[in-house]
């Protein structure tokens, strides 16, 4: 029983990682007032760029660099539409998701001729597990051994990065000058403007950071969690990250827990497939899978707490005649 729990938690960490990265990405963007439903597309674009570059150059790190480049490029398109041209944030996000869904397969087929996939990645082209020192030696120690060797040890570098990014995001958003301006611009851009700060510049920086994080999330999908790019491999994770962002009320630590909760539900769902629970019987997997979305809707409806986003979110900034 304990071992099962550890295995589920271990899977939770793996499944949550891209959610955490993407949700933090969304946090930067939305805190600045730019709605981002394009997390999905940026992640997918990053996944493709990472796998393609890793396949060509044989290095996961070069793959990661390309993932970030691709994702930041998409983020800048979003910024160009929403910040410079005051376009609709939702429409722009849908456009990016759609373009990427088609473009990755199109380019993939042209470059690798494998039906839109990238070649299977091996060796240095993937991020491999990092085994903690003495993990094997203490694996047999009760409780602690299992936690150390199974749960904590044995993940790839990007998983650990994601968890480090949470306190880092907290620090940036709440303890730095940039964070102060970021939060201000999402709440009241007029106040920022009259304080002599460029609203557009702060927002562009925010979407670039969003792009970087989505790129890492994408690289995780194709060069760490899997060994190559598959069509539509982001499979809604961007949207789930968006849900986690709302569920965590746009705050880094609650967002982390929302991602872990959603990841946990996913891990449990996989585990429970076809298993009859004592006293309950077989729980349909879909009922568990759907919980993140149902919970988010309930939260938005104000039935479980209240999600109040940044006040100026989704509104283009226009200097008005005072």
């Amino acid at each position: 029983m304990f071992e099962t729990l550890i295995l589920i938690l271990d899977a939770t960490l793996r499944v949550s990682t891209p959610l955490i990265l993407a949700a933090l990405a969304g946090l930067f963007s939305e805190r600045s007032g730019i709605v981002d439903i394009g997390l999905e597309g940026k992640m997918l674009g990053g996944a493709f760029a990472a796998a393609a570059a890793a396949a060509v150059f044989g290095s996961a790190w070069i793959g990661l660099a390309f993932a970030i480049l691709a994702s930041v490029g998409l983020a800048l398109i979003h910024g160009f539409a929403c910040i410079t041209h005051r376009g609709d944030h939702i429409v722009s996000g849908v456009a990016i998701n759609t373009i990427v869904a088609g473009l990755t397969v199109t380019l993939g087929l042209d470059w690798f001729s494998q039906g839109g996939q990238t070649p299977a990645l091996t060796g240095d082209a993937r991020f491999t597990s990092i085994v903690f020192p003495f993990a094997e030696q203490i694996a047999d120690v009760p409780v602690i051994g299992l936690i150390y060797s199974e749960l904590l040890s044995g993940h790839n570098i990007l998983v650990y990065m994601a968890f480090v990014f949470v306190p880092a995001t907290y620090w940036i958003v709440f303890k730095t000058r940039f964070g102060l301006r970021l939060r201000a611009v999402g709440e009241n851009p007029h106040a920022v403007d009259t304080a002599g700060i460029s609203v557009a510049l702060v927002r562009y920086r925010a979407v670039i950071i969003c792009g970087i994080l989505c790129g890492i999330a994408g690289a995780y999908l194709s060069t760490a969690h899997n060994a190559g790019f598959l069509k539509d491999m982001s499979a809604g994770k961007g949207y789930m990250a968006l849900a986690a962002l709302i569920f965590g009320k746009w705050r880094p630590v609650p967002v982390l827990f929302a991602c872990l909760l959603f990841g946990f539900l996913d891990a449990v769902a996989v585990r429970l497939q076809g298993v009859a629970l004592p006293g309950i019987g077989e729980v349909p997997v879909q009922a568990i899978e759907v919980l993140p979305y149902v919970l988010t809707v309930l939260l938005l409806a104000g039935f479980i707490g209240k999600a109040v986003g940044p006040k100026a979110i989704g509104k283009p900034y226009v200097k008005e005649r005072a």
């Binding site: 939060r183 007029h190 403007d193 009259t194 304080a195 700060i197 200097k319 005649r321 005072a322």
Partner: protein, 518 residues
């Protein structure tokens, strides 16, 4: 001020600014001596706010120069303005509501990439500023929890923290209680003692006379007079502000009012921010009269129209109309008020009275879209709508008389005729009409005024809101003056003159009367 030796704290020369067809500022010159409180007074739309926005770098002037301490400066954005020592307290506060006072104050002047050191340095500096200028605020409080008076103090501190030597306050008392306003003026005085130059923008004469050293008057985008405050008085300022306008001529007989059709008792209204916009307003409206509501805009007239027409809910008080008692707990919405034959020509036809993307014939039924006249069983009766619209366009001389033309493409006067025709032709018992001739050309004004009088002569009751004093005086049979959400006086039209009304609008009348009685 001629005896003051230059350089001035701030000097403007030949500032002009145009927005499309509107000349908001025209060749403005202004000299403000260092360490003085300088008032700028004028009616709404006189161009005060535009001028201040130019000084603060929100807009760039089309021409003219700004000099600070005798040196010409180039102010292209707010950052430039802050650099040369200008601070501004906006009419609508520029604060991030869920930030603490401290966070708001350091925003844009954080003193380093990491907040920690900057914040503790700011804390120290603020302590000094607070004692120096007697501006105490809890720096760790969250702004949205503070009353407006304190929020304003945060704005002042924010400017001082950035080293402002010139402080601009745009209508600073609009949101304050009298006590808070008094406190503000004490603060301004101590700022002045510390050598800060203050520019005070207001339309309230009392404030100018009570707190400034010099005053400049603006009218229709121009600076019309500069006075030392000690050498001028209310009457002169009121006249300068309003100007001698061409008297509008409306031919009408004496009103023959009959019974009361609408009586309002202690109407109060709080807006979504919890500010009391209407304060126990009471009046009676009789059939066959035009009741004019005078006042500088923003003193509760819009809210009064909204509450009467059912657009905004009453907070307390009651309206007796058409045999119904309307209260906060028994409200009526806009559609229900229309059914009770209350018509409403809103003050802002673009925001409220029309849908500018609609064709004229569609805009001509707004509010009456469910009426049987315009509807068949399922579809709207387009034929009826069109023929009625064409008829009205002829009757009201709307040009061009094309029911299919987009509403946006009519001139202001013709748009207004479409709205007024729509409301008047419903044969209402009460017509609420706001700013009937705003943005309307001269020819149309006469026509609109005639129609209003005609409706009165047909025994209907009319409530007229206008910021144009001469319009109020020309049309009304009885005049009520509103100030700060309350009714401050009532005058029969034949006894009203510009001076009396102007003083009432600036809330200086009662004091003068009080002083005379004492």
């Amino acid at each position: 001020m001629s005896n003051q030796t230059p350089p001035y704290a701030i000097e403007l020369e030949g500032i002009s600014k145009r927005f499309g067809a509107v000349q908001a500022n025209k060749d403005i010159c202004l000299q403000v001596p260092k360490g003085s409180i300088h008032g700028i007074i004028g009616e709404n739309g006189a161009g005060k706010s535009t001028l201040m926005s130019i000084i603060y770098g929100f807009y760039e002037a089309d021409s003219g120069t700004i000099s600070i301490d005798g040196e010409q400066v180039d102010i292209r954005n707010s950052q430039d303005a802050i650099k040369v020592g200008i601070g501004m307290v906006h009419q609508h506060f520029m604060l991030v509501e869920n930030f603490t006072v401290l966070e708001n104050i350091v925003l844009g002047a954080e003193g380093g990439a990491v907040l920690k050191h900057g914040l503790s340095a700011a804390r120290e500096e603020l302590k000094r500023l607070e004692t120096e200028y007697r501006l105490d605020v809890d720096v760790d409080a969250v702004v949205e929890d503070l009353p407006v008076g304190l929020q304003q103090r945060v704005e002042i501190l924010k400017a001082l923290y950035r080293g402002a030597k010139i402080l601009i306050l745009d209508e600073p008392t609009g949101v304050l209680t009298p006590q808070e306003a008094d406190h503000l003026f004490r603060i301004l005085k101590s700022l002045k003692e510390q050598g800060v130059t203050v520019l005070l923008i207001t339309h309230k004469l009392r404030e100018i006379l009570a707190s400034t050293d010099n005053v400049s008057v603006m009218r229709q985008g121009e600076m019309v007079a500069h006075r030392e405050t000690a050498t001028t008085n209310k009457d002169e300022l009121a006249e300068l502000m309003v100007g001698k306008k061409v008297r509008l001529k409306v031919t009408k007989d004496t009103a023959q009012p009959t019974g009361t059709v609408l009586s309002a008792k202690d109407l109060s209204f709080f807006d979504s921010q919890g500010v009391e916009r209407l304060k126990k307003v009471s009046f009676e409206l009789k059939a066959g009269e035009i009741l004019g509501i005078a006042g500088v805009s923003g003193n509760g007239q819009s809210e009064l129209l909204n509450v009467l027409s059912g657009i905004a809910p009453l907070s307390s008080g009651e309206i007796q109309y058409a045999g119904q008692t309307i209260t906060a707990s028994a409200p009526k919405n806009a559609a229900q008020m229309r059914d009770l034959k209350m018509a409403h020509v809103p003050e802002d036809r673009h925001k409220m009275g029309l849908v500018t993307g609609f064709d004229a014939y569609e805009a001509a039924v707004l509010g009456y879209q469910n009426s049987e006249v315009y509807n068949g069983k399922v579809l709207m009766n387009r034929k009826a709508m069109l023929s009625e619209c064409e008829q009205r366009m002829t009757d009201w001389d709307v040009r061009p008389p094309d029911p299919f033309l987009k509403t946006a493409n009519f001139s202001g006067g013709n748009q207004q005729k479409i709205v007024i025709a729509r409301e008047v032709e419903q044969n209402p018992e009460v017509l609420l009409i706001g700013q009937p001739t705003r943005g309307v050309d001269i020819g149309a004004i006469e026509n609109i005024h005639e129609q209003i009088v005609k409706l009165r002569d047909a025994g209907k009751a009319i409530l007229l809101v206008s910021v144009e004093l001469d319009e109020i005086m020309a049309l009304s049979d009885r005049i009520i003056v509103m100030f700060d959400g309350a009714v401050v006086g009532e005058v029969p039209a034949d006894q009203a003159d510009e001076r009396t009304l102007g003083l009432m609008m600036a809330n200086a009348w009662n004091e003068e009367k009080g002083a005379a009685e004492a």
